[in-house]
């Protein structure tokens, strides 16, 4: 049994610092942040609590004390479930995988309503210490980590190669950060909403050359709850919803670096996943009204945009600078402000991607609304886009 699935409700916390210092007298507890979002998202969805049959959580960071957080939350919310309950982990793809599994629970008939949700708390961990953990997540612990590679170091190498292969200018890459900040200024849940100039991006202290502070992801906390259900139930509510039209996935069988030399910056897994998603939806990239890409660095948005066919190969950075990917441009990318300015609470970033698409497709995006938004794509990835997961959503009113 498979059936069509829709997103009918969503809620998200502001992104940034939610976690309190360990010695603060009052702490922020994960369940006290997430539960109100569940109630809010379900109220928007307009379906009763009793219909929820599955909970799919993005796994918490190791800094969250409560273990088995999923069943703890089922108790906190008093939610009996006939379908399933799980915490998923898929590296940077974690949030996207949670959404994917919630879709499956409904499509397969295990549940009529499923929640894809999670909270990522990490802001109290100092970056250099946090990197002692994340350095072991990208590459081979015994053959790559030994040199001090960090996750964003691999993206920085993409940037160097991209500028070499296509003659892209530093200012073109940097313009992606400026564009995303303009978008974030219109997003109430964005972590950074102050204006940011191209000069400031270019003058920022280097983090992983050539990328400076504003071209790499901020550290931060965030929480999201999405409500998905069978389309017939969505229709019955009478509310606008976002229909899942297509899904594509591909993992290229490599972890961070292929020992068989390839075109590393083609993001071929994203090309394959996008082709599958477009085919399932019966559309092409030119039919999209917007796209929200998992892009922790400026260069990643450029390369993912090219791999999804949103911009021509080698032209993504130039098109960003020309305004083609801005709100009001040909194909707005990362209308939320993206990882760089909306925020990147990594394990729920994939959920925030769908949250933004849902806001746009149900015309709740306020000042950053893409006029008549009907078709939208969201991507998430792991490694250096060694894998990509892409969903195509359609507005139904």
């Amino acid at each position: 049994m498979t059936r069509r699935v829709a997103v009918i409700g969503a809620a998200a916390s502001p992104n940034g610092r939610l976690q309190m210092p360990p010695d603060a007298p009052l702490q922020t507890l994960e369940h006290e942040v997430l539960a109100p979002l569940v109630i809010e998202a379900m109220a928007i969805a307009g379906v009763p609590k009793e219909e929820v049959g599955a909970l799919v959580f993005a796994m918490c960071r190791p800094y969250t004390l409560q273990k088995y957080f999923a069943t703890f939350m089922a108790n906190y919310l008093r939610l009996p479930l006939k379908g399933s309950i799980m915490e998923v982990l898929g590296n940077g793809m974690t949030g996207g995988m949670a959404f994917d599994q919630a879709i499956n629970a409904v499509a397969l008939g295990h549940a009529d309503v499923a929640l894809a949700l999670g909270i990522n708390m990490e802001s109290q961990a100092a970056s250099a210490e946090h990197a002692m953990s994340t350095m072991r997540a990208t590459g081979d612990v015994d053959f790559h980590t030994i040199f001090g590679f960090t996750p964003i170091a691999w993206y920085a190498m993409d940037a160097v190669r991209y500028m070499h292969d296509f003659g892209a200018a530093r200012t073109q890459l940097a313009s992606v950060a400026v564009k995303n900040r303009r978008h974030a200024r219109l997003n109430p849940i964005a972590q950074f909403r102050k204006p940011l100039s191209l000069q400031e991006v270019l003058a920022a202290r280097p983090i992983v050359e050539p990328l400076g502070l504003f071209e790499v992801p901020p550290r931060g906390d965030g929480a999201v709850c999405l409500v998905v259900c069978a389309e017939e139930m969505a229709k019955a509510t009478g509310n606008p919803y976002a229909l899942v039209r297509g899904r594509g996935f591909f993992h290229d069988g490599t972890h961070q670096l292929s020992d068989v030399p390839n075109d590393m910056i083609a993001f071929s897994a994203a090309q394959r996943a996008a082709a599958a998603a477009y085919s399932a939806a019966g559309i092409g990239p030119g039919d999209l009204d917007l796209a929200e890409l998992y892009a922790p660095c400026t260069i990643v948005e450029v390369l993912a945009g090219e791999a999804l066919g949103l911009t021509p190969r080698g032209r993504g950075a130039a098109e960003a600078q020309a305004g083609e990917t801005s709100l009001g441009g040909r194909i707005p990318i990362c209308t939320s402000g993206g990882c760089l300015s909306r925020g990147h609470p990594a394990y729920v970033t994939g959920l925030l991607t769908i949250y933004e698409l849902w806001e746009q497709l149900t015309h709740r995006a306020g000042e950053r609304q893409v006029a008549d938004a009907r078709l939208a794509a969201g991507s998430c990835e792991l490694g250096n886009y060694n894998a990509a997961l892409i969903h195509i959503l359609e507005a139904v009113a």
């Binding site: 015994d142 030994i146 001090g148 992983v208 020992d259």
Partner: protein
């Protein structure tokens, strides 16, 4: 012919674990040789070395010596390093395409340009070796 050695007066910031299988790699490196495994039937090299060929899953593999010469494919300078690497910051790391058709990642010495020839050197830390690449000396000086 041995790879060049460069002595480093400190311990490796985050040393690799060594298994019975990978020990020949690290022993060879300390002996001035960069080695890896090749499938006997597939004839394909892989890196890091593996006790089977990842391409056809055959368990018959042999150790082979690599030239240590290749071209620099990509690089970066990491300023925000993990805590253990603070003493070495900033770090220049890169990706190298070896002559034998293998892609590896390693420390980079000096500032070679992309697509230029690089050669492997052994960094002899006080507790064991790491490998790095630097601009290759012109052939007439070898």
């Amino acid at each position: 012919m041995s790879l060049p050695f460069i002595d480093v007066a400190s311990a490796r910031p985050w040393p690799p674990r060594i298994s019975a299988f990978t020990k020949p790699f690290w022993d060879a490196l300390l002996d001035g040789r960069l080695v890896t495994t090749r499938g006997r039937t597939s004839g394909r090299l892989t890196f890091p070395p593996k006790p089977f060929c990842p391409h056809n899953w055959e368990r018959e593999v042999e150790w082979v010596e690599l030239s240590g010469r290749g071209k620099l494919y990509a690089q970066t300078v990491i300023h925000a390093t993990p805590a253990a690497f603070r003493g070495e910051a900033p770090i220049r790391n890169g990706i190298i395409d070896l002559e034998e058709g293998l892609r590896v990642a390693a420390r980079i010495l000096g500032e070679p340009a992309l697509d230029t020839s690089v050669e492997c050197v052994v960094l002899r830390y006080t507790d064991g070796p790491l490998f790095a690449f630097r601009a290759a000396l012109p052939a007439h000086r070898l």
